[in-house]
């Protein structure tokens, strides 16, 4: 891997959801994303924030190969995306754990899709679960876990097949504020220790600033990049950091841009 190779490269990304039907019950075409240019370098943690419905998830799905954009190019590790790739791990807002599998087998799901599960896969997953604070829960079923634990399992699953790129679509969106903060600290540690590249979709400003090396702000629908903020913090992020004036200052900047984008397009 050369340093000039980007993990993700989006150029002129545009996506329109086709309407359907005719007459009164017709659904009009919706332009979700207008024109997004974005590069993510290896090892970065990039957050994409923006108002509700600005097409954040569309961007992520285009990177994941779950949706073919109307226009523009998507490259992952230099290759054009034509469909889901094996070297991408993804976690969504809904943990979507399979209720009939225990924690270990849920995590091994992506591995077993691509061949037999080896001992080293189990060991890797055990390591991930341990780092996520889930040691001892390997044989529990999802319904025995709390919401926060399920999301941690989903993130371990995303990392289980040792992907080079981690995609997270509001993985903590449904959690309460306290749990969410703890999860963020845990996620930061996992990211540092595994050295993955990560893209996070969120509408939590603090969350984005706390976790990211760069925060990308999208405008209201149709989404475009209005600004990129680079939080000037070391890779290790702590709860204490959140109490500092510097942290508040960066969050304030993101918030101002977000509101400007919101009002600017909406008004």
């Amino acid at each position: 891997m050369t340093t000039t190779e980007h993990a993700v490269e989006l150029a002129g990304l545009r996506h329109v959801f086709a309407g359907r039907g005719r007459g009164r019950r017709a659904v009009r075409d919706v332009e979700a994303v207008a024109n997004v240019d974005l590069t993510v370098r290896p090892g970065e943690f990039v957050s994409i924030v923006g108002p509700s419905g600005c097409g954040k998830s569309t961007v992520l799905k285009a990177i994941a190969g779950l949706l073919r954009p109307t226009a523009g190019t998507v490259r992952v590790w230099g290759e054009p995306v034509t469909g889901p790739r094996r070297d991408i791990g993804i976690a969504l807002q809904d943990a979507t754990l399979l209720p009939w599998r225990d924690v270990m087998f849920n995590c091994l799901f992506p591995v077993e899709l691509h061949g037999k599960v080896a001992d080293e896969d189990r060991e890797r997953v055990s390591g991930l679960l341990e780092r996520a604070g889930l040691a001892g829960f390997e044989s529990r079923r999802p319904k025995e876990l709390s919401g926060g634990m399920r999301q941690r399992v989903a993130i371990c699953r995303a990392l289980a097949d040792d992907p080079r790129l981690l995609l997270l679509d509001e993985p903590f969106g449904a959690l309460d504020a306290l749990t969410r903060e703890q999860m963020n600290i845990d996620l930061n540690r996992v990211w540092r220790e595994t050295g993955k590249t990560a893209v996070l979709i969120t509408h939590g400003i603090e969350e984005a600033v706390l976790l990211s090396t760069r925060v990308v702000i999208l405008s209201e629908r149709p989404g475009t990049v209005v600004e990129v903020v680079t939080p000037p913090f070391p890779r290790e992020r702590t709860k204490e950091l959140m109490a500092t004036p510097e942290f508040a200052e960066v969050c304030g900047r993101v918030r101002d841009r977000l509101f400007a984008a919101d009002v600017g397009v909406g008004g």
Binding site: L66, L67, R68, G83
Partner: protein, 261 residues
């Protein structure tokens, strides 16, 4: 790309083409394969014979007379089943002790194939319409009873609390909170019961009756008049479809006029 196959819409050219081809093949096979020999034990009437029996020269007098009897039985029986089911359902739903006491029996009686009651109803009410009306009533009672009872018992506690908080009396709660919420469960019971009513009426007639669809089906079978037999079956498909849409329209009509739910 990710559209799961189970949910894709399929009004495509290939879909319509396939439908037309399959239908054409089925109709052609229906015309060509059967021997057309009446009285041949395995015989199926040819398509043209069936269509003729369905056409203006068919025995529409017979068909309609039989249908009138059967639908009459189904309707009157359903009425009995509906009224009895709703009344008993409300009573049982309101009293927890009664519900606990009676519920196992209601479940057990529901597990009894209602058709099996036909011979008894014949002994009680004879070969005429009355025995079939009774059978239909017994068959349609339980789905309505069970869903009404569940509807009363499961009325949203929050709504009752809300109404109580605003000082509603028990009677007011019943009239304005519990009963309006019953329309949906009663209709879902009714949906099952309408199908059952038609089915039970025909089944009763198959066992012993002097008129109705079940009777002419057996007469045509005995006389090897299979074209007429098939014509009646096709008419039954149409009537079944009509009954199902009738319930759907009625449900829509009533639900549109409900304040909420």
């Amino acid at each position: 790309m990710t559209v799961p196959p189970a949910r894709a819409r399929a009004g495509t050219a290939a879909g319509w083409g396939g439908l037309v081809v399959v239908t054409a093949v089925l109709l052609a096979a229906w015309q060509i394969v059967p021997s057309g020999v009446q009285g041949d034990g395995s015989s199926v009437p040819k398509l043209d014979a069936t269509l003729k029996a369905l056409g203006p020269s068919g025995e529409w007098g017979e068909y309609l007379k039989a249908l009138r009897v059967t639908l009459g039985e189904a309707f009157l029986g359903l009425l009995i089943g509906l009224v009895a089911g709703v009344v008993l359902g409300v009573l049982l739903g309101e009293s927890k002790i009664l519900r606990q006491g009676v519920y196992p029996y209601a479940v057990a009686l529901q597990a009894l194939p209602p058709i099996a009651l036909a011979p008894i109803f014949v002994i009680w009410f004879g070969f005429g319409m009355t025995s079939k009306i009774g059978l239909v009533g017994a068959a349609t009672l339980f789905p309505i009873l069970v869903s009404t009872m569940a509807g009363v018992a499961e009325t949203d506690r929050n709504r009752i609390e809300m109404a109580t908080a605003f000082g509603a009396s028990r009677a007011q709660i019943r009239m304005r909170v519990v009963f309006p919420g019953l329309v949906a469960p009663i209709f879902s019971g009714l949906e099952i019961s309408v199908v059952l009513s038609f089915l039970a009426a025909i089944a009763g007639e198959l066992i012993s009756a002097n008129a109705g669809v079940g009777v002419i089906l057996q007469v045509y079978q005995r006389d090897f008049r299979l074209a007429e037999e098939f014509a009646v079956l096709l008419i039954l498909v149409a009537v079944g479809l009509a009954l199902a849409s009738l319930v759907r329209v009625a449900r829509h009509f009533v639900m549109e006029r409900m304040p909420d739910e």
